[in-house]
């Protein structure tokens, strides 16, 4: 850490970690409701707990992106943040909005589109938060050094804000509603979020491996090129069965198959950089998360996405537990892991500690990753059985669900393991460990 103002990232990292724990807790609640249906059924219905689970995820990932940007941008731009004070106000406003949304949900105050359940006024607060953020980071970059990493990061963050505006448009025609709902959801996670992810990954590669910036930045442009060339028209895989023309079946199938490419490129990129870089950075845990991120994103977003993206396959699997399996592994691999990688890298620098609790952090990595992987397999098998019984044999939904009980119990068990892993991660990041003398001696003068 070179700039005092990078410290505002601490607010965001703390907020993100808190919401991360909340997200997993509510995940456990709905995982329990699935196997014990009468659990909390009067007090906390499934739909309310579920919107808290998904919204907490989205908000903490965004909070992590904001924090990562506040850490990364001063260092890349080689200048203090334009306004640390504005960044802190922005944090509290965002946290207030998120808290108000959750409290409102518990009292059944919400809108009714998936992931966009926030009441209008909270959506507007989010827009204000985004504008404060974009103003702050853009002004910082404008007065400082411009690198490919800041360029791409800013493009991604501006994209997030621009596409969020479509959440304000809710036509009464359900088909049009869905068409533009995906402009938020798909163009976020299979579009501009990938820009944010790739630029953070590139930053970490420069710092952790010592590879030449020119090489990393060239890779960055190739990766995000692959991401957007495939991802934009890949939106077509959501347009198969919602009342749109049949040509989307071809466009969606072809382009979303290509969506595997950027994730594969990220795996090649990170492993090549580490292999060629040869620097032995003291923060081994951050490196583990960075490599894990590209690998898990490749499997979760890439392979599990491809699994059900071809139109003839999707015709059978659409809206089954296969989708849920993909959703969990993709979000974990791509966006949870990039955030934890960045937090693991940044926290020791921000707190002026040496890389600490490395072993605990790495246990957190393996336990959480095992939990999410097992969960993904359980849901995938559930989804395949469901697809066959319900979509091929034509059995009724509830009848089919009764056949899936074993898988749902396994998913809940995997969820508990995931929770244990998450507690370890949070603990290892927040609580200082005993620095070992040997580890201290091994530290090289790398940032």
């Amino acid at each position: 850490m070179k700039y005092e103002s990078q410290k505002v990232a601490l607010y965001y990292i703390a907020g993100a970690l808190g919401l991360f724990v909340a997200q997993i807790l509510f995940g456990l609640v709905i995982g329990t409701i699935v196997v014990v249906p009468n659990f909390l059924s009067e007090l906390l219905p499934f739909n309310i707990a579920r919107m808290i689970h998904t919204n907490a995820l989205i908000v903490w990932l965004l909070m992590g992106f904001f924090g990562s940007a506040y850490y990364l941008i001063p260092e890349e731009a080689e200048t203090e943040l334009y306004s640390p004070k504005l960044a802190i106000i922005q944090f509290w406003l965002f946290l207030f909005g998120a808290a108000a949304a959750v409290v409102g949900y518990l009292f059944h105050i919400h809108e009714g589109r998936e992931f966009l359940e926030q009441p209008l006024w909270i959506k507007l607060v989010i827009v204000v938060v985004a504008l404060m953020f974009l103003f702050n980071v853009s002004m910082t970059v404008l007065k400082g050094r411009k690198t490919a990493i800041t360029n791409v990061l800013l493009l991604g963050l501006w994209g997030i804000a621009v596409f969020f505006l479509f959440s304000l448009y809710n036509p009464s025609n359900l088909i049009l509603d869905k068409v533009f709902w995906w402009w938020v959801v798909h163009l976020w996670v299979e579009g501009v979020w990938e820009l944010v992810m790739a630029s953070i990954l590139a930053f970490l590669m420069i710092k952790l491996t010592g590879i030449d910036r020119e090489v990393v930045e060239k890779w960055l442009y190739v990766i995000i090129g692959l991401a957007l060339f495939s991802g934009i028209l890949g939106t077509g895989h959501h347009y198969y069965w919602i009342g749109l023309p049949a040509y989307w079946q071809w466009i969606g199938s072809v382009f979303s198959t290509l969506e595997v490419a950027p994730f594969f490129a990220m795996v090649v990129f990170t492993f090549m950089m580490v292999w060629k870089g040869g620097r032995s950075h003291a923060n081994k845990a951050a490196l583990l998360w960075s490599l894990g991120c590209s690998v898990f994103a490749f499997f979760g977003a890439g392979v599990w996405g491809f699994l059900h993206t071809l139109a003839p396959v999707n015709y059978i699997t659409h809206g089954t537990q296969v989708t849920a399996a993909h959703g969990h592994l993709a979000f974990y691999g791509a966006y949870v892991m990039i955030n934890i990688a960045m937090f693991t890298y940044a926290m020791p620098n921000l707190l002026k500690r040496e890389p600490y609790n490395q072993i605990l952090n790495m246990w957190g990595f393996w336990i959480t990753s095992s939990g999410v992987t097992f969960m993904t397999f359980a849901l995938t098998f559930a989804g395949v059985v469901q697809s066959h019984l319900q979509r091929v044999l034509g059995m009724g939904f509830m009848e089919v669900q009764e056949q899936l009980g074993l898988f749902y119990w396994m998913r809940l068990g995997a969820g508990v393991v995931t929770f244990v892993g998450v507690v370890l991660i949070v603990w290892s990041l927040v609580v200082p460990g005993r620095a070992k003398a040997a580890a201290r001696a091994a530290i090289q003068p790398a940032e």
Partner: protein
């Protein structure tokens, strides 16, 4: 990576390619929207259907159910619930059955997923059913494959 591709070339390809694909995407979506609007001439979103969609959203039905395959996968698909309830053959009967179903929740049956009780007025219930009927008539390329949803 190959020396022949420079960083600025990679950057230019990225910007150019992204603009290219985005323009195509916007064009196709514009065309799709025009087909949706054409369909709406013979299959209009009546005030009652629009109100039904509001009822659907007010109770966050999508955070348990799915509609055209999108939602929470916890409760049955409702995009074709009108067809599943026999609305094509006996519209009045299907309407009554659907309304009764909603009114009678929660079932309270031990070990069965519970739908909350929603206080929905009679006109709102009719609007909701109109919304389901409208949705079941959308040309979804024959999805879902079975009436089970």
């Amino acid at each position: 990576m190959s020396e022949t591709l420079t960083k600025s070339a990679a950057r230019n390809i990225f910007y150019g390619g992204t603009a290219f694909f985005f323009v195509i995407f916007v064009g196709l979506v514009a065309h799709s929207v025009s087909t949706v609007n054409e369909m709406a001439i013979n299959h209009p979103v009546t005030p009652s259907v629009a109100r039904g969609k509001e009822v659907w959203e007010k109770h966050a039905c999508i955070d348990c159910h799915t509609i055209m395959g999108e939602g929470a996968y916890f409760a049955p698909e409702l995009g074709n619930v009108w067809v599943r309830y026999g609305g094509r053959d006996d519209a009045a009967g299907a309407r009554e059955s659907l309304k009764l179903w909603v009114k009678n929740q929660p079932s309270g049956i031990e070990g069965r997923r519970q739908m909350p009780h929603f206080d929905i007025s009679e006109p709102d219930l009719d609007a909701l059913v109109d919304f389901f009927k409208w949705t079941s008539e959308v040309n979804t390329q024959n999805w879902p494959p079975k009436v089970s949803g």
